[in-house]
Amino acid sequence: MNKVKVTFIVTLGLIIILGCFFITSSAAEPIKIGAVLPKSGNYAEHGEMELIGIYLAVEDFGGEVLGRPIELVEADDENNPDIGSRRARNLIEVEGVKFLMGGVSSSVGLAIGGVCEEKGALYLATNQNSDDFASVGYANKYMFHVAPGMDSLVRGAAEYVAENLGKKWYFITHDYSWGHSGTKWARNMLDQVGAEEIGEIKVPNGTRDFSSYLLTIANSGADVVALTVGGLDLQALYMQMNEFGLFDKMAVWCTLGNYEDSYPLNPEQRGMYIGVEAYWKESPGMIELSNRVKEGYPNAPLSVASANTYQGWLGMTALLKAIEKAGTTDVDAVIKAMEGMVICDNLRLEPTYIRPWDHQFLGVYPFVRDLQVEGVDIFEILFTYDSKDYARSLSENPLDLTAE
């Protein structure tokens, strides 16, 4: 009898111990999140600043969600759609990642979005601004567009540009998906704001010498140059515009620019009007984010948080909140949780709203002028606008990505 009792107690004890072990090991299994972004090439420093934002958001959640540690798996997309999509596929198939985010180049992001749709993984395009991410033919239910599309960035600024800078517009377009978006929307606004198109030059990604383009534009009679050019190409273009004295002849409207592009310039090389996604001094929350960058990442390319940092932070914050809300890591459930979410504690003065039918994040964005000053406070905010007033409506963009 005693033997049976002892055997029963020992067996029960073992079952309890093993059960606890399995429960503990299951709880400790990390949630892998893939960060696919440029660590080399035209947008390398943008990617690095973005990655810092992603890490800071993980830090804000104490490094875990649903009681499980968050494991970030980084991959360099090398600013190349083929490489980016290959790395994303590898993360999903080999590493078992179900959630991906990050990136700067729209072409790369759209390629990754295609892989995620095929594999049923959730993808947040954090810093790519082509409106294709939320457009018929490209958008899919597994993809969310954290960054504002060029539709809202350009339409939000066009009226100010026409009224204050001039109505004869010359376009310089980076010759890929994002560049085309910027010029398309500016062109669509011409009639509405009473402006006219003087000409357009499409420049390939990787162009470093713009002298011939600038000579043509300087004699075109335009009073505004509307640029949709990014990365190192944009920096070279800024420098050469100054060199060719273009700022004395016409206003320069950069439909979307980054702090990373303006900060390295000498003060006399600045003077553009720029649509930006965020500015480090715009709110107490952004100043706090900047302080964390400065203190925690002394080797970062910048000593303040850039819009790329913020967008990385926002994307990761939204994802973790959605996982928390869904109470599971099931991709479909997380998508459903994210749709319609309002993020009030978003470090900005106004909340961010995730529109369900096109998976587009909407928020308030500044339009700035970069100043000819030393130091890190180089942008003057001219005005802000709410992207929900300028992003395409359902009738303009008949999509329905809402989860069943």
């Binding site: 080399s40 390939p204 011939s212 004699n219 006399e268």
Partner: protein, 297 residues
């Protein structure tokens, strides 16, 4: 089409061509005479730009313009002594891979020392502002750089074509035994050619820095252009390199009016066309493979 614009684009093309020539000429010399596909040339170009950016505010524009190429020449001396001497006479691919490794490692060192953000060189006072002519605006600095480039090209042409040094070096590459019998030291000659190539890379970095900005990857960006120009012009041919650089400068400048989207591809299309009809380039005597074959004979 406005004739003024066409003329100014033509002028711009010539100036761009002169700058491209300085970038490519050192690469072509080392390739043609030293018989090494030196992918570290781009790294030396980048070091030229960075060192100039770093020291010019401290010691002034012209002293930095003199000292920077000498420092880069010293780096070239070390690279040649420590590494390149081991690849002479080997398959060109071996030299390419070794120098590519040096280039990648050096790029990381640049990032460690100077960070990842773009650096900007201010226009010096003597060339600030623009020239205004017939409703056309052109930066004085580009004109000054083109003149400096022209002086550099003429000096290199004199050194390699007209001076005794150039004659001995060229003879040594085709008949090393004869040169040794005459009492000249071939390894020393090769070392000097590599140093000259490095000095030219450093100068090219200084010339390019204010135009295109300074980035750790700038050497890689420029390398393909230099390689293309060297192949079009013919290995080791100064005349061929300058002509190829001018043709590419002019076509890319004027191409903006006709085919802006294809401008970046023009040098490579031209390369295919030239190599198809003249595998040795415009003024070359051997192809890269021909160099190996000649050496093996």
């Amino acid at each position: 089409m406005n004739i003024n614009i066409i003329l100014v684009l033509l002028f711009n093309g010539v100036l761009l061509g002169l700058i491209y020539a300085v970038v490519s000429i050192g690469f072509s010399l080392v390739l043609g005479i030293g018989q090494v596909i030196n992918f570290a040339h781009g790294l030396l170009f980048a070091f030229g730009a960075y060192i100039f950016w770093y020291i010019s505010p401290i010691i002034g524009y012209w002293p930095a313009f003199i000292i920077t190429p000498l420092i880069v020449g010293g780096m070239g001396y070390l690279i040649e002594k420590l590494v390149i001497t081991r690849v002479y006479g080997q398959d060109p691919l071996f030299g390419l891979l070794v120098t590519l490794g040096i280039s990648l490692a050096g790029t990381e060192i640049i990032r460690m020392i100077w960070g990842k953000l773009t650096k900007v060189v201010s226009t010096p006072g003597f060339a600030a502002g623009q020239v205004h002519f017939a409703n056309i605006i052109y930066p004085k600095y580009r004109i000054a750089l083109a003149l400096i480039s022209l002086i550099i090209i003429l000096f290199v042409w004199w050194l390699m074509i007209r001076s005794n040094f150039g004659t001995i070096v060229k003879a040594g590459m085709t008949d090393s035994e004869m040169i040794s019998a005459l009492g000249h030291n071939l390894p020393v000659l090769r070392n000097r050619v590599f140093i000259i190539g490095s000095i030219l890379a450093g100068m090219a970095g200084i010339v390019a820095a204010p135009l295109w900005g300074i980035k750790s990857e700038m050497g890689t960006d420029i390398l393909m252009l230099a390689f293309t120009i060297a192949l079009i012009g013919g290995l080791g041919s100064i005349k061929g390199t300058v002509i190829a650089a001018l043709v590419i400068g002019i076509i890319t400048s004027l191409g903006v009016l006709i085919i802006p989207r294809l401008v970046e591809a023009v040098p490579f299309i031209l390369l295919i066309a030239v190599l198809f009809y003249k595998p040795k380039g415009l003024y070359g005597e051997l192809t890269i493979l021909g160099e190996v074959t000649a050496r093996e004979k």
